[in-house]
């Protein structure tokens, strides 16, 4: 790697540099011997740039950089200062003493101010410097040690050796302080001004307001930026943070995500424009699927419908977005339930109660207990969920996290089912097909609480409608997997679901049907979509199994009703 110094821009902008240096020099209280302000007369940085030797690179990217260098400068830069000094030592001595005990001379302490011009040249610097560059934050330069090796001070008093030595000593000390403390701040401000025109405009506004401006909040340092990949889109509608790296919404979602992973919360925020590792495997299969179905299973692994914190603003917005796009929702809109006006929502206009981690019952009883109407099932599902929702309303703190409640919104249910449900054994879906009655029965109750009445099992895809639909086909596929499912150990702790229904799986199976039923979307790839969803849900369930293990245990504490004798073995969690 090589460094290419474009030394000229800094030299060209000496007017501003001079002003800033003057301000810095006059900021601290001056000794009484200096009568006037210290003005920077001339500043010339010389033609040769300093030599930098890279010692360590800490961070390197297209728009940011951090490194430790060994810097040495042997150039021709010079600086000229102009001020006025008091020549009468008695004057400076007596001016700082209380007048009561001062001899109060008649005329011996009268002052004589002499203009003084000092030129600092032959500056030799050598030291370790930490250079941090970022496009948004500018350049920061900090010296690790005292860099000044030697410098030559020449002034108008050069003829008097005593004064010359005194000046040399004093100015060297002052410059050391300046380099270590003031220079980084000056360079930082200068770089911000040059690299960021918005900062410039803002600075002018600031200076006009003459108010102390709060420091810009850079929520995540450079280190965390890498974890977020490329998520540096400016916040939506937040023009104030002109060079903020992160959108506020994304930040909140990320915080929610990390919190959900830490606290086993069932809610997982939906983060748009993200790539999840789990998608990698499913991506092969889901090439042709519509947007909303493809990411669903992946999202399901990470997101939880239950929201435990108030991100209503962001979530509801995402909800609105998702609901607005209908079937083209590209991400599981957990929040969408709350505000989704789509017809999918059955009686769900109200905000969802949340904190329903315990409520979520994602086990779908794939055994056929009853063959019912799809619609009725759906209704029952929704109603069941409604009940559960209402029941759990009191517990929930978050309204918008009704996203987590998939019941009210059928199309999103599937997504949410993926999103919010704890991992389910994919085999339940399998079992669903063969034993529709079981599945229906098992999946009939979406309730998350024992109180909720056990509704009819979700109707298996087969219904009275003889029209061939994917739903008819799905069960067939699920049938294949059902035997596997049977062997799954039975989870006794399934609460609120008499038969360990995997409602989600059922719902997700149904979702394509419903979406087709309600949508005039193409029916071409429905079959594939359904299968994809099924596979995806299996993966999702497997991954989320571990996480939701605790939830299952908690659910039992709800006094969950027994799952019923017929319930297929719940997934082993």
């Amino acid at each position: 790697m090589a460094f290419n110094f474009n030394w000229s821009p800094l030299i060209a902008d000496t007017e501003r540099v001079r002003a800033m240096l003057t301000t810095a020099l006059n900021k601290s209280p001056k000794p009484p011997i200096i009568v006037d302000d210290i003005l920077v007369n001339e500043l010339n940085l010389g033609p040769t740039p300093p030599d930098l030797e890279i010692l360590e690179i800490g961070d390197l990217a297209e728009d940011r950089f951090r490194g430790i260098f060994k810097m040495s400068y042997t150039g021709d830069a010079y600086l000229t200062l102009k001020t006025r000094v008091q020549a009468n030592p008695l004057n400076t001595y007596l001016s700082t003493k209380p007048s009561f005990a001062s001899p109060q001379p008649l005329a011996a302490s009268s002052g004589l101010t002499i203009p003084l011009q000092i030129t600092l040249s032959d500056i030799r610097l050598s030291g370790f410097v930490i250079l941090v560059f970022s496009k948004q934050k500018g350049v920061t330069l900090v010296f690790r040690n005292d860099p000044i090796e030697s410098l030559k001070v020449s002034s108008t008093f050069d003829a008097i050796p005593f004064v010359r030595e005194y000046l040399q000593r004093t100015i060297e000390n002052q410059l050391r302080v300046l380099f270590m403390e003031d220079l980084p701040a000056i360079i930082h401000k200068l770089s911000l001004r040059m690299f960021n025109p918005e900062y410039q405009a803002l600075e002018e506004i600031r200076s006009q307001a003459a108010e102390a401006v709060q420091p810009r909040i850079d929520p995540f340092a450079d280190s965390s930026a890498e974890t977020m990949g490329g998520e540096r889109t400016p916040a939506d509608g937040e023009a104030t943070e002109t060079y903020a790296s992160f959108s506020q919404k994304n930040l909140l979602r990320l915080a929610a995500l990390s919190e959900s992973q830490r606290t086993l919360s069932l809610f997982t925020p939906a983060i748009r424009d993200t790539v999840y590792r789990a998608w990698a495997t499913a991506a092969d299969r889901g090439q042709g699927m519509s947007g909303y179905s493809t990411p669903n299973p992946r999202i399901a692994t990470l997101s939880r419908l239950n929201s435990s914190f108030d991100r209503s603003a962001t979530l509801s917005s995402t909800a609105s977005i998702t609901s607005g796009t209908g079937s083209h929702i590209t991400r599981p809109s957990l929040v969408s339930n709350a505000s989704a006006p789509t017809t999918y929502t059955l009686g769900s206009g109200r905000p969802r109660p949340h904190a329903q981690r315990k409520r979520k019952h994602r086990v779908v009883n794939l055994r056929k207990t009853a063959v019912e109407n799809d619609a009725s099932d759906v209704v029952s599902q929704s109603s069941g969920y409604d009940d559960s929702i209402s029941a759990s309303e009191s517990r929930s703190k978050e309204e918008s996290s009704s996203v987590t409640n998939p019941s009210n919104q059928i199309p999103s249910v599937l997504r949410e089912g993926e999103v919010s449900t704890p991992p389910r054994s994919p085999k339940k879906i399998v079992g669903f097909t063969t034993d529709k009655a079981d599945g229906v029965a098992s999946s009939s109750t979406p309730s998350r609480r024992p109180i909720t009445p056990l509704h009819k099992v979700i109707q298996p895809p087969d219904d009275d409608d003889p029209t061939p639909r994917a739903s008819m086909v799905l069960p067939a596929k699920e049938n294949e997997k059902r035997p596997q499912r049977q062997h799954l150990p039975r989870m006794q702790t399934l609460p609120s679901r008499p038969k360990g229904e995997l409602y989600r799986s059922h719902s997700e199976v149904k979702l394509p049907d419903l979406s087709n039923a309600f949508n005039e979307g193409s029916t071409g790839g429905i079959l594939e979509q359904a299968w994809m969803m099924k596979m995806a849900s299996e993966i999702a369930r497997r991954v989320a199994e571990e996480k939701s293990g605790g939830e299952r245990w908690r659910r039992t504490s709800d006094g969950g009703t027994s799952t019923g004798g017929d319930a297929p073995p719940a997934y082993a969690s």
Binding site: N88, P89, K97, P98, A101, S102, P105, A107, A108, S110
Partner: protein, 406 residues
């Protein structure tokens, strides 16, 4: 206006027969009184009392910072006999203006200070002890005066404060007044400053028995019979700083016997710094005094001109009657002769004034205005400083001081 404690101190000087004019430090006293008066800054209240001729107290309260104040005590073994009530104190003694120098006297005999107490000869030594405590900043000022001999005065001043370097400063001064000449030696603990001041008066030598104060008419205006020419010098040296200062001065002032308008001319010179300062003060009338001063620096060519005036306002209730008095009755009786000592600070010539206005203006744009007077029974001082050349702040400082003493 003198503060109460300074007033009592000057009364101590007068009661102890110490000539405060005969010092190099007061070479330009008339000019500094007229041109370098202090204007109050902020609001300040003084409450003072001369509880007994030996003891005085004073309290001040001001609004510098939030509140600041001080209290002070003074003790003197010489009873101070001076009017102290603010309703009765003579304003002319408080407000210093043009000074008529008092006559030179040869130092008293040591026998004059001996008294017999219980059959023993005891030397009376007048002493004064004064202390002042500034409250918010916890600074302590202390002063000790002692007339160690009829011609010597020892004064020790100290300031003690936590924020001061080395915790404080001590200044010791020994003044030696021989009438014709005076010398002063001083040393300060702050950077070990040593100083010397000397003043020499030309002409009349009070120690000489033969030379009498010539009362014949002066041959020319510059005859020193009616005027006094004095020359003095001062030098300071600090062994620690290896620095010092030097200055010399010349003064010619007219004595009270002068028939014309009294005036004083001074010239001071600092040869090291090249500072030249000349002033001319004149007492234009019984109530009006004027003064000008010109400063110049031969090295840096900096110069300044300052003009000041002082205007007294007297009660006019009995002025018409006084004009009818004969010349012999016009002035208050005063002791005459060399033996008599009248301090120039306590000359009471006329009826008291009700107020005085002082103003000064300099070519650098700085101006000041001050009114001091008596309101009811309080002494009030109102002043303001202006800076004409400054575009941002034309009014520098405004202040009000109210003083009550009993």
């Amino acid at each position: 206006m003198l503060e109460f404690m300074d007033y009592v101190q000057s009364a101590f000087y007068a009661g102890s027969r110490w000539n405060t004019d005969n010092s190099y430090a007061s070479l330009t006293a008339a000019t500094t009184n007229l041109l370098d008066f202090r204007t109050p800054n902020g609001v300040r209240l003084h409450v003072s009392s001369l509880s007994s001729p030996n003891f005085a107290t004073s309290y001040t309260l001001g609004n510098k910072g939030v509140v600041d104040g001080s209290f002070s005590f003074l003790f003197s073994n010489l009873g101070v006999k001076v009017a102290s009530r603010s309703s009765a104190v003579y304003l002319g003694h408080l407000v210093r203006g043009y000074r008529h120098l008092q006559a030179l006297r040869k130092p008293e005999d040591a026998s004059a200070w001996e008294t017999v107490v219980d059959g023993k000869v005891v030397q009376m030594r007048d002493a004064l002890l004064y202390g002042r405590m500034y409250l918010p900043g916890s600074t302590l000022e202390a002063l000790y005066l002692r007339r160690i001999s009829p011609s010597r005065l020892l004064s020790i001043r100290a300031v003690s404060g936590a924020q001061l370097p080395h915790g404080g400063t001590l200044l010791a001064q020994l003044q030696n007044d021989q009438g014709k000449y005076t010398t002063e030696y001083l040393c300060s603990t702050d950077s070990a400053l040593l100083g010397f001041r000397g003043l020499y008066n030309f002409g009349y030598d009070p120690r000489d028995q033969n030379s009498q104060l010539d009362s014949s008419a002066p041959a020319h205006p510059w005859d020193h019979k009616s005027g006094r020419l004095s020359v003095g010098a001062e030098a300071y040296f600090s062994p620690m700083n290896k620095s010092g200062g030097l200055s010399t001065g010349l003064r010619f002032t007219t004595l009270p016997v002068h028939t014309g308008i009294p005036y004083t001319m001074t010239l001071t010179l600092n040869p090291l710094m090249g500072n030249l300062s000349s002033s001319y003060a004149v007492k234009a009338g019984s109530d009006l005094s004027l003064c000008t001063r010109f400063d110049f620096n031969v090295y840096s060519y900096e110069s300044d001109v300052t003009i000041g005036l002082e205007l007294w306002r007297r009660e006019s209730s009995t002025a018409w009657a006084r004009k009818m008095l004969g010349s012999a009755w016009r002035t208050a009786p005063r002791p005459t002769g060399e033996g008599a000592f009248v301090s120039s600070d306590f000359v009471t010539k006329q009826e008291d004034a009700t107020g005085v206005v002082k103003a000064r203006m300099s070519a650098a744009g700085k101006a000041s205005l001050l009114w001091e007077g008596r309101v009811k029974e309080l002494l009030v001082s109102v002043g303001a400083g202006f800076n004409m050349k400054s575009t941002t702040r034309a009014l520098g400082s405004v202040g009000l001081e109210v003083s009550y003493s009993s």
